[in-house]
Subunit: 371 residues, 2 copies
């Protein structure tokens, strides 16, 4: 058995091949120190339970064949509905024991009973450590093959290492984890995890412009300006998102933010097409997607009542689309290509867009902001 801060594995066989690794996630804690109504592994981060985030992190790793989540009896149905709702694959739910070690034992029994194919290495990973990366798990798995147990580990390792020696007569090695592996224990950790997830979701944005010259120009200016706020900014023409492959690539590249720029303000039909594409790609199942509708106002003669009508339509549209976990905001840009203040307006638009993407505030959907 090898244990890192947060990730341990057990050598079940004498030789190890890639593809023969499973993971057991103890998720039976009561979360007393958190002070929340429910155990921390079921607390929501961006609307989704913590345990689902951790499960996703392990599912992303192709060489982990099976993931066993061990929960207390009362939470088995909750866990099953989480698997259903968020489309988890390769997860088996197992009832826990009265202690963490009994729970891990119950998880391992699944393999002994031949209910699942016996792996050569099993990674034990706390369900409340959502930010685990492939490289650290690979180190842990390799260490399971390469290292033996030494006195230092027994003196300073965690209790699992003691048990491994006492009962299993197996080899053990302590692997240093990264700071990202930290465990969600207190309420402040939930806050931190929420901010880290929001940060990760704000790294990419895709600007979609309609074919009109004004939209293309604002798209270009916004692209240039947003680069100083957001790591990766793409810009495509509206005709391209009808090319399924193109959009699929962007979505597969983990882009969760879209900006649609159009001169014709009431283009809800085209926006609906984008929403359908996002929905079909299942992208908003796991994280809320931000969709900012930028209206270019090229005339000063719009009446207030027509403006209010538009606002009402955005609100209704946003409320409807929110059910699919897509957050829609409106942004009005007064546009005149000869305006010497144009760059200033674009700067203001970029700042507002960046704030909306970074905050992902579900309570401000359907609002029409002004750059």
């Amino acid at each position: 058995m090898c244990e890192s801060r947060g990730a341990a594995q057990m050598e079940l066989g004498s030789s190890w091949n890639a593809g023969s690794v499973a993971a057991v996630l103890p998720a039976g804690g009561s979360g007393e120190r958190l002070g929340a109504a429910r155990p921390k592994q079921f607390c929501a981060l961006q609307g989704r339970p913590l345990v689902s985030h951790t499960a996703c992190a392990l599912e992303r790793i192709s060489w982990i064949s099976d993931i066993i989540v061990v929960v207390s009896l009362e939470h088995i149905e909750t866990m099953k509905s989480i698997i259903q709702k968020y489309g988890h694959k390769r997860i088996t739910v197992v009832e826990g024991g009265v202690t963490r070690h009994r729970s891990i034992f119950n998880g391992l029994k699944i393999f002994a009973e031949n209910k699942l194919q016996k792996p050569e290495v099993v990674i034990i990973h706390d369900a409340v450590r959502p930010f685990v990366e492939e490289d650290i798990l690979l180190k842990v798995v390799k260490a399971a093959k390469d290292h033996g147990c030494n006195d230092y580990d027994l003196d300073y390792g965690t209790e699992c290492l003691h048990l491994a020696l006492k009962y299993c007569k197996t080899k053990a090695k302590l692997i240093e984890g990264s700071p990202d592996l930290w465990k969600v224990t207190y309420k402040r950790d939930l806050y931190a995890a929420e901010s880290i997830i929001k940060d990760n979701l704000s790294q990419q944005v895709c600007i979609i412009t309609d074919m009109k010259e004004d939209a293309v120009q604002v798209g270009f200016l916004l692209h240039e300006t947003l680069k100083s706020h957001i790591q990766q900014v793409r810009r495509i023409s509206v005709s391209l998102y009808k090319d399924d492959n193109y959009m699929q690539n962007i979505i597969l590249g983990q882009c969760f933010n879209f900006i649609c720029i159009r001169v014709n303000k009431s283009a809800f039909q085209e926006t609906q097409q984008l929403v359908d594409i996002l929905e079909n790609a299942n992208i908003s199942t796991l994280y809320p997607v931000v969709l900012i509708l930028v209206h270019l106002n090229v005339s000063e003669n719009t009446s207030f009542s027509s403006e209010m009508e538009d606002l009402t339509r955005i609100k209704e549209f946003a409320r409807e689309v929110k059910k699919k976990n897509i957050l829609v905001y409106g942004l009005l840009i007064h546009y005149n290509k000869d305006d010497p203040q144009l760059q200033e307006t674009v700067n203001s638009a970029a700042t507002i867009i960046s704030a909306l993407i970074k905050d992902r505030n579900p309570e401000l959907i359907g609002q029409l902001l002004v750059a």
Copy 2:
């Protein structure tokens, strides 16, 4: 010497009286683990350096007479300008040494050299633990009098306790701190601290209504509805905030959020009066204050251009007031007292208000949202 997780004190005399306590804050760390451009004690939380938040937490405690902040030579001027900018009292800046212990020693030397009155107890408190409460410090100070040093503390306490015995022949005792005493070490800790501070700032709101019947009614409805979002909601008439004592009490009660409801949309003059009161009370020096201007639109006949003019004025006003660390947002409520949807509109307004207060987003100031 006594040490808790994050708070230690040294017994300098043989008997202790309340009022004879000082604090030394080592603030010389380089913050390498944080991965930020500047040391973590100078990273901004709600726009203010972490070390200033910690200093405030200690300044709130009346029985701590002097606070010595120990920083490296290159940060002495930075620290002095922080003291100036945020109006800290009772703080002396001292140059640190090459290690944490030498820095603490330099802090203590100030008393030995009779530059400040010698206290009977000195609390050593990390500058990067911003959430320290009076009760735990009181326990630490009391323990400095009551307890002796035992073998358990020497074996399992932190290195300070070892030094205390070895060099000072003084008594030592380990005090268990609360989880809130945690140390800001990684970037995730800054995220958590930021969220905790925002949470603390969102506990109270004061609704100020003008004298018109419609404003009073909406004020009443908002009061009732906001109670389920925010812990403490007060409501006063606009005439009252001209009573200095009344407003002073609210401000002294740590209220950082104000909602002004008025039927006459362009009442910037009255709003300016409120801004002046807040400014004179120095309330926004330490934390950003949220000020939401609620406009009741009782007519459908407003022209778009007059609406845009108003929006421009809010934006300009907000930009001006932002310099005083006051964040102004506009909120439009279409009001008709016989509207069967009125409560729904008020619910929407309360949700938006609560989101604005909890987010305190400086990039969305001057926007006119619609309930």
